[in-house]
């Protein structure tokens, strides 16, 4: 499968263009470590976010492999149940808050100013601060593993009273680290909203913005709406643990079910925070390699908005079994199914864009296509879980684990990989190595399905989630899952190899690296993008749709 790469400008041309980007005189940045500690440049901060999340992706991945190693066979072989619980919890927390969310924020930092023709983010110093909060937060969180009593062991959803009355002593540090990470996300969101609303190139209306910008704008609103609720709920936990209050303690007149309501009021919008930017990425990649305009731009925007609004009304689908009244179960069931409508609109638009397109299969496109197919499978299992009476059986089984891993791994994570392959030419000036990226792709799709598809079956057969040992009849499914997981984990080393090679060298990329259908503003600046771009705002020309 030979990739079709558009005609290349000569080396002289692209360096000349890069030279032209350096029109302004800038003070030389400080040298060494201080440069990274103090930078206010959106590209450097974006790079730091991306590297941070890649490191965290591997740390979270190692935790997952500890879990899969123990589950390779029934019986207890490698770790004790207490440590197993810490591994499942830390895996979830790190992947959600330290890998997926910062990766999207890093992409936003790099690409939003470039896509709207702004010289930088609206609040560059705040931007630096939001990034540096993250290593503090997650350094603290990881350090709890070495504290007496161990790290958090109550699941990434930290249900009270497991996380209050029965929690390890390190829980106070867990709360602190989540507070810091939350502040970081909030500041990032404010910055992104301020940038998008105020810094667009003259002539660019809201409905001219690329979809990645739109989806991030809506994601930022979600963050501003729900991160304070998370902050509130962990503060209540802190008070229950340390100051003798009883928000979630039945003995003192509180209610643990209240915890679940508050958590999922944050938690469901949070899962959309992890997928809306992915929708934006895929909406940029598919038209570029299908060589057609995106079908239904406006409906994409409205569908994203509808998903965001509805996401506040469905938190109860995580709590069907707590003993809700019938009316509430019906409400949450129908509201959840309603979300499938705007989601379906999106899938329809992507498929229609592909229809009769002149498709080529460069690495970003491979991951974007896998996203469409595999995310849809995750959506279907979500619909099954949304059926309240069926969820009574599926809840807290591996079926739920299969569902959310399908939407998060071949969903959110594949979209991030696709974005990296798509924008690497802009970042480094080189195309990623196609051969290696293809190996990375095929190993990843095969192993991701090997890992998570059998979990549907073990879940339907009744295997509970979050257990270190299981009944014999689940042995085969688990062995397959474990083999797949190790394959997936090691395949990601290829991803690192491709990135490192691409930074070092490779086939030179022109400004418009992916041809005429990837024509948002970022493709008008030279590749690699110079440190400072759009210091004089470009005039935005509306492409003929």
């Amino acid at each position: 499968m030979a990739p079709k790469v558009p005609p290349q400008p000569t080396l002289e041309q692209s360096t000349a263009a890069a030279e032209a980007g350096h029109g302004h005189a800038h003070e030389a940045p400080p040298k060494g470590i201080m440069r990274w500690l103090l930078t206010t440049n959106h590209k450097e901060i974006g790079t730091m976010y991306l590297i941070f999340s890649l490191i965290m992706f591997f740390i979270g991945g190692i935790f997952a492999l500890v879990v899969r190693l123990e589950l390779f066979q029934p019986g207890m072989q490698f770790v004790n149940p207490e440590f197993f619980n810490q591994m499942t919890t830390m895996h979830g927390l790190i992947m959600v808050f330290a890998a997926v969310m910062p990766a999207f924020t890093g992409l936003a930092n790099w690409m939003i100013p470039l896509q709207i023709g702004a010289p930088d983010m609206a609040l560059p110093r705040l931007n630096n601060f939001s990034f540096w909060l993250l290593p503090v937060a997650f350094g603290l969180l990881l350090s709890t593993l070495f504290m007496p009593g161990g790290g958090p062991n109550f699941g990434w959803t930290f249900y009270a009273p497991l996380s209050t009355t029965y929690a390890p002593p390190s829980t106070t540090f867990f709360i602190l680290s989540l507070h810091i990470a939350g502040i970081s996300s909030i500041l990032g969101a404010i910055n992104i909203i301020a940038t998008i609303l105020n810094m667009r190139a003259p002539g660019m209306r809201m409905m001219d913005m690329p979809l990645f910008v739109w989806t991030w704008l809506i994601t930022s609103f979600l963050l501003i709406a729900v991160m304070p609720v998370l902050a509130g709920v962990i503060t209540m936990m802190l008070m229950d643990i340390n100051f003798g209050t009883s928000f979630f303690n039945a003995a003192g007149g509180g209610d643990p079910v209240l915890f679940q309501h508050l958590f999922w009021f944050f938690g469901h919008p949070e899962v959309y925070i992890m997928i809306l930017p992915a929708f934006g990425i895929v909406s940029a990649i598919i038209p570029a390699f299908a060589r057609k305009r995106l079908f239904g731009y406006a409906s994409m925007v409205y569908a994203t908005g509808a998903i965001a609004v509805l996401s506040f009304l469905v938190w109860g689908h995580h709590m069907f079994v707590v003993g809700m009244p019938l009316a509430a179960q019906l409400f949450f069931m129908y509201a959840t199914m309603l979300i499938a409508v705007p989601t379906g609109v999106k899938i329809f638009n992507w498929v229609t864009t592909l229809f009769r397109g002149s498709i080529s299969f460069e690495p970003p496109m491979l991951f974007a296509l896998a996203f469409v197919v595999l995310f849809t499978i995750g959506g279907f299992s979500g619909l099954m879980l949304a059926i309240a009476p069926a969820d009574f059986q599926y809840h807290d089984t591996y079926f739920v684990v299969a569902h959310f891993h399908y939407v998060l791994v071949p969903g959110a994570i594949f979209s991030i990989i696709a974005a990296v392959y798509f924008w690497l030419p802009k970042w480094t000036g080189h195309y990623p190595n196609v051969r290696l990226a293809q190996w990375h792709f095929w190993l990843s799709v095969i192993s991701v399905n090997l890992t998570f598809f059998p979990m549907h079956f073990s879940g339907l057969a009744g295997m509970p989630r979050r257990i270190p040992d299981y009944a014999l009849q689940f042995a085969d499914f688990n062995m397959v899952s474990s083999i797949g997981a190790f394959m997936f984990g090691f395949s990601q080393l290829l991803f690192v190899a491709v990135i490192v090679m691409c930074v070092r060298g490779g086939q030179k990329a022109p400004a418009a690296a992916w041809g005429e259908f990837a024509d948002d503003l970022e493709w008008s600046v030279p590749s690699p993008a110079p440190l400072h771009t759009f210091e004089t705002p470009p005039t935005f020309k509306r492409p003929a749709h």
Partner: protein, 197 residues
């Protein structure tokens, strides 16, 4: 870019930031407001089996003799309190509107005096609002001396509006320690009789 444009931009950024901060403060306050709202919501609708813990008048006059309802009692001990809560009968059958009295026995099996409270819950929650209690140990916290046993009555009635599909009502009482007060006791602080409840 001209100086003017830049100022317009900066003003816009400031406005966006303040609006976002206002939204953040609002949502943080909303999260805390949900705590009392949730409580009120559960009490008004009876969801979650939360019942009034204040005495209610019994409506004595008209008993609905056309149907019988089974009322079950379950007692549980939460969080390792060295107490027992027993009930003289596990279930009674009665007509809606009829008043019934059931005795519960609290016994402190430890060597120290301490405070505890029995927290009630009703299932199914459609019955919650129809359980009327005129007297219940669950209205207040109890103080028991080491080894003491106390018998206390529950006087209650199911009102006539109990939905017809409800044929069994379960009342669960869970014993919880009142830790703050117990610690004060052990530290030798004198408490008023009856406590704050």
């Amino acid at each position: 870019m001209s100086q003017d444009d830049n100022e317009v931009r900066q003003a816009g950024v400031r406005r966006t930031v303040w609006r976002s901060v206002a939204a953040l403060v609002g949502m943080f306050a909303f999260a805390w407001a949900l705590v009392p709202l949730y409580d009120v919501f559960c009490r008004v609708t009876g969801i979650n089996g939360q019942v009034d813990t204040t005495a209610q008048a019994l409506v004595h006059d008209d008993v609905d003799e056309s149907r019988m309802v089974t009322v079950q009692f379950i007692t549980r001990n939460g969080s390792g309190l060295p107490w027992r809560l027993d009930v003289e009968t596990r279930q009674v059958r009665l007509h809606p509107g009829q008043t019934s009295e059931v005795n519960f026995t609290f016994s402190n099996q430890s060597r120290s005096e301490n405070w505890a409270r029995a927290v009630p819950s009703v299932t199914p929650n459609t019955a919650t609002r129809h359980v009327r209690k005129s007297s219940c140990f669950c209205f207040e916290e109890q103080l028991l001396q080491a080894g003491e046993r106390v018998e206390m009555p529950l006087v209650f009635q199911l009102d006539r509006d109990l939905p017809p599909e409800v044929t069994t009502v379960t009342l669960v009482y869970t014993l919880y320690p009142v830790e703050g007060k117990t610690q004060k006791l052990q530290a030798g602080v004198k408490l008023d009789e009856g406590g704050e409840a």
